[in-house]
């Protein structure tokens, strides 16, 4: 049994230890935001878990990584069939395939990440009730998977753009701030929905329906210009409008970004992110009891 007894260093100097005091949860936004710092100690777990998430997802499926591409591509084919063959949907002078795919890319990132994150806590009941770690790691790891899938699916867009000879310019660099706003929004909803799902499983059941309706409330299969002007201001309150429309503009049409709509998306996402985080952290304290 020589493996049992190699030199065992005495545990570190007592004074160097961190002290933690656990008190009953009280709703206090300041102390909640202070807990952001705790996440730093768990970055390794966050990365390990996200990486594993990607591995696990593709480990047991035959098509593996192709699934990241298959979903937006098959949706694209369906929408081409409906909106380009059955009926004529204006696509701002673009071939419909590339027009719809460029919108499906940020949309799929949003819908898959939010849907998966919503059930993330519930599906990891075992972990939540048996070990401690900042719980936001679970929904966030699904957002990382979404980003990963997004990058893989981008390759198809590149092929489509080459095939249809769509030129690009430096304006395309705008995708970075656009994706940042989208990710903020995704994180906000993931935190909010996953925390709600712990208490009300109804949300999980409603998710496919919500996403379906939401997609038609977002300019994915049609351009923003087709939305009647009188509904426009209400319509723009959907943060995904500013994201998807602008994404398509900067990638395909070399049009500079529409700042007002992106600003609306940013402000709503930022406010929602703060509120969701506070709500999540407040609920986190007793999650293990309720789940």
């Amino acid at each position: 049994m020589q493996n049992v007894s190699p030199t065992l260093a005495p545990t570190s100097v007592p004074d160097a230890r961190s002290t933690k005091v656990i008190r009953p949860p009280v709703f206090n936004p300041v102390s909640i935001l202070r807990r952001l710092g705790e996440f730093k100690a768990y970055t390794d777990l966050f990365l390990t878990l996200s990486l594993h998430r990607i591995k696990v997802r593709y480990k047991q499926s035959v098509l593996g990584i192709a699934w990241a591409v298959l979903q937006p591509v098959s949706l694209m084919l369906i929408y081409i069939a409906i909106f380009s063959i059955v009926t004529q949907m204006p696509s701002e002078g673009m071939p419909y395939a590339v027009f719809v795919y460029a919108a499906l890319l940020p949309w799929t990132y949003f819908s898959t990440a939010v849907s998966a994150a919503t059930s993330s806590l519930v599906s990891h009941q075992q972990m939540v009730t048996k070990v401690y770690f900042p719980r936001e790691i679970l929904p966030l790891s699904y957002v990382v998977v979404g980003i990963f899938d997004f990058i893989i699916a981008t390759s198809v867009l590149a092929c489509l753009m080459i095939y249809y000879k769509v030129a690009i310019s430096f304006i395309i660099l705008w995708v970075l701030p656009i994706l940042l706003v989208e990710t903020m929004f995704i994180v906000a909803l993931s935190l909010l929905f996953s925390a709600i799902q712990v208490q009300f499983r109804d949300l999980g059941f409603a998710m496919p329906l919500i996403m379906q309706l939401w997609m038609f409330a977002t300019p994915v299969v049609y351009p923003l210009s087709k939305v009647p002007a009188r509904f426009r201001s209400l319509y723009l309150l959907n943060p995904m409008v500013g994201v998807v429309e602008n994404f398509r503009h900067v990638v395909l049409q070399r049009m500079s970004v529409d700042v007002p709509s992106l600003r609306i998306s940013f402000v709503i996402s930022a406010v929602l992110l703060l509120l969701s985080y506070a709500y999540f952290k407040h609920k986190e304290a007793t999650m293990a009891d309720v789940i």
């Binding site: 390990t48 048996k130 070990v131 401690y132 304290a285």
Partner: protein, 407 residues
Amino acid sequence: MIDLRFDNVSKRYRIRQEDATHHAGWLNKMRSRLGPGKDFWALRDVNFEVRHGETLGIIGHNGSGKSTALKLMASITTPTRGEITIRGRIAALLEVASGFHPELTGRENIFLQGSIIGMRRREIHAKLDRIIDFAEIRPFIDLPVKRYSSGMFVRLGFSIAAHLEPEILLLDEVLAVGDMTFQKKCVERILELSRSGMTIVFISHDLAAVERLCQRAILLERGRVAGEGPVSALTAQYLTRMEPTADDRPAVSERIVKIKSVQFFDESGQASLQFRTGYPLRARIDYEASTEVGPAVFRLHFFGLDERLHCEFVSGVNAAPLAVTAGPGAIEFRCDEIGLQPGIYHMDAKAERPDGSELTVLRRCALIHVGEGKQVHGTFYAPHTWHPVSDTGASSRETSEHLSGII
């Protein structure tokens, strides 16, 4: 130096009556989800401290709040009242292999578990080999853990927790699983960690293990601290709280024999529930028969905490069955050297007819604690004697001649 302190800690759980609202509308359902439910206090005003480098045991029966206390220490949930102070990095093994991901390999799971308790990948890397060797699963380390046997699962789970070297280690019923050899290895490892200065909180049903590992223990009862001190001082208190339950199955027919009590006596003839391996034990069963029964056999079954039958005393092994007549009666079993290994055993007392048909049974009529006595290795102690043999080859030839003579 205090590493862990509970200050007036209480924990309340809300029990919502889901069943009652099963047929109710969604509005009522919603109200029951959000409204106040029935309160259940799992812990009430609990105070204790764990000193630096100490191994503290927490004992108590099911539902006493042991696991809730551990969940609070591990930050899995928060107290309803009071304050918990923790100094140092904590790791908990609440249920062996609970955080495992079935699709990932053993190696990947080691990294996952390690990062859950807040270790860096580099630190885990340094201990990888020791973890794998301790768990004895090197050939399987790159297989997904869902392919592991339950034994391998348990070994890996314990090995990770025992090697990741947190500053405070919480262990919940870790010795309840795994085979004997590995359990022994676990105990040795815990002792080693304890000697190296690690602060350990150990929760177990197994009083013998708590006694071996912990300098001090606290006894929880219905969410309150009922006692604190050396384990041996708490054992008696713990054992007396186990109440006998009569057979709860519906009586097939009128019970004509009733077992009234089961008592135990130690070597000095004192009534006791504490014994030692290899020392005498006497058990007395008092019964009462409503009518003449005729021949009957009494059995006393010793169950371990794993609900396995370890041994039995049975009347009528060396003699004819006892004839039970109407009225009260008693029989006594006597064992000069009990073979049970240290641990806790609970008893069923039974009476049956010689053909095996049951007359009566009294389940969990007693709980005894067997402490270390004549320590031997193996699963049980076999009474034996020894003496030096001074004879040489000549006499052994004599013996074999003698044997061949018989043949």
